[in-house]
Assembly symmetry: C2
Homo-oligomer: 306 residues x 2
């Protein structure tokens, strides 16, 4: 199975209102709730594809219990480690024009809770084909958390995909993950001096030099760039899709995980990741893909040596 | 003990942000949570005054569990009937300028859940000195809910204070509650034809005619007006207080409940209610009163025959 790790998940709450008026009082006409967080979206996509998957990470309090309930309602297999603090919520207020977001800070994680997670993660590795390490770290979790998990996975013979940013990515790279998937902005922020704009291939090569075995850069509607020590590939979608880009990166990670598990050759793997990302844009909710878009685009993705 | 009923409580969530920007994304710097709902505020004030009190009503889901936890943390005695649906949350976004509110709709209450509450309420009457029936009705609870509870209380020899508005108030009045406490706007909306502006005393007299035994009209900084079949009194605070007026009406209900329990004469009762309302304005949170303001104002409230 593929194990997805989300250390800082969220309860994503959406409020529909007629019009957002600052300093007014709004009656919310509809309330939506979804499990939130990159690793949960990856698990949702893999589950929708029929791939064996298990979502894990840290959940706490009433919001955490609700995330657990929502995952169960979607039949996504999950085994989270409990924490005392409350899992964060994100509130998105949607009016007729656009969305306004409010992001709570993440919960404070105790040292013992983090250690309990590490032990839990170690226990899952025996059944894991690939692990995906996704998203930000909540307060209290050490900044080199992903490096530790990457090393544990490697020691257990399990390849890892790391999808995070900033210092968590920088520290994680040092442990040599099998694959990192920054988007172009994350990669540039991490690897080039402020203001310097290098070519993406150069930046990705720099990430390789920092320790990753392979780098897949997500370039939004321009597709994906994959770089290893021996190969470089570009995958470009056959058409531009309009929709909700929020979960595209997570769908990409889902495709990369099963490709890594199946040792799929890069051209085929990249085509799958491009088509699945596009199918996520075509689906209204993060963590879902539009199957028809996926089927239609998969044979039409153009992959070429970079 | 005084039993306060809140059929549509809320989890009141406050988000602090630097500046509310419509259609932007905001990192919330601090998250506050409080039990919300008129009857919970009344219970909080009575508990702070050292009066025996029990908060009851309907609570459900994760938000309901959190309200229960917050009441327990404040040591406010509570015995709520569980419902399957999720208790509503209210989110208030506070920036440097003012507050922006988002009010979720109330939960759908099943007929059996409402009947379970009625049975629970009946069981509490044996130990109740007064019942306070507070706030709006959630979907699924019959519009004449308060009339039914008023009649049950009366049959048990327990006087009732009704603090609600609109149709719930209109129907509740028919059962002859011992006291209703509309504010001036609620009273006018209920009792006079649209556009007609009668004198408050006339409006209150109309409420008496509709069935209440006594009417206390809260008039914001202008104090309180009390009307029974035999008496009419005005209570006016000695000074204008600035602060948070949200919980003033609930503090007033708290004072009225204990006055009704103790059969306090109207002049004294009204002075207490005026001082306690003002002390709520001086406290930063609804459901709390500032003891120093209460002690200072109580002897200075001016009460006169209206």
């Amino acid at each position: 199975m593929i194990v997805t790790v989300t250390l800082n998940p969220a309860l994503d709450v959406t409020y529909r209102v007629a019009e957002l008026v600052p300093h007014g009082t709004h009656r919310v006409s509809a309330v939506g709730m979804r499990p939130g967080g990159k690793g949960l979206n990856v698990a949702g996509v893999l589950h929708a594809l029929g791939e064996p998957v298990l979502a894990t990470g840290l959940l706490g309090g009433a919001a955490g219990a609700r995330v657990t309930g929502l995952l169960a309602a979607d039949a996504v297999p999950a085994a989270f480690v409990p924490i005392a603090a409350e899992t964060r919520s994100t509130v998105t207020v949607a009016d007729g024009v656009d969305a306004t977001g409010f992001w709570e800070p993440g919960p404070a994680v105790a040292r013992a809770e983090w250690e309990a997670f590490v032990a839990h993660f170690r226990g899952l590795l025996g059944d894991a084909d690939v692990v995906a390490l996704c998203g930000s770290l909540p307060p209290g979790v050490p900044i080199d958390a992903y490096a530790r998990l990457v090393r544990l996975a490697a020691a257990g013979g399990v390849p890892s995909v790391l999808d995070t940013s900033g210092e968590a990515l920088r520290h994680g790279l040092a442990a040599g993950p099998d694959l990192v998937k920054p988007n172009a902005a994350e990669l540039r922020a991490l690897l080039t001096p402020a203001g310097a704009a290098g070519r993406e291939v150069d930046d990705a090569a720099h990430a390789l030099a920092c320790g990753a075995r392979a780098v897949v850069v997500s370039r939004g509607p321009d597709g994906l760039l994959a770089l290893t020590r021996d190969e470089a590939w570009r995958g470009v979608p056959p058409e531009r899709l309009t929709g909700n880009p929020t979960g595209a990166g997570d769908a990409c990670v889902a495709a990369l995980c099963r490709g890594l598990r199946d040792r799929t050759p890069w051209p085929e793997l990249l085509a799958d990741a491009v088509a699945l990302s596009a199918a996520a844009v075509a689906a209204p909710l993060a963590g879902a893909v539009d199957p028809e878009t996926y089927r239609r685009l998969l044979p039409a993705v153009r992959v070429s040596a970079a």
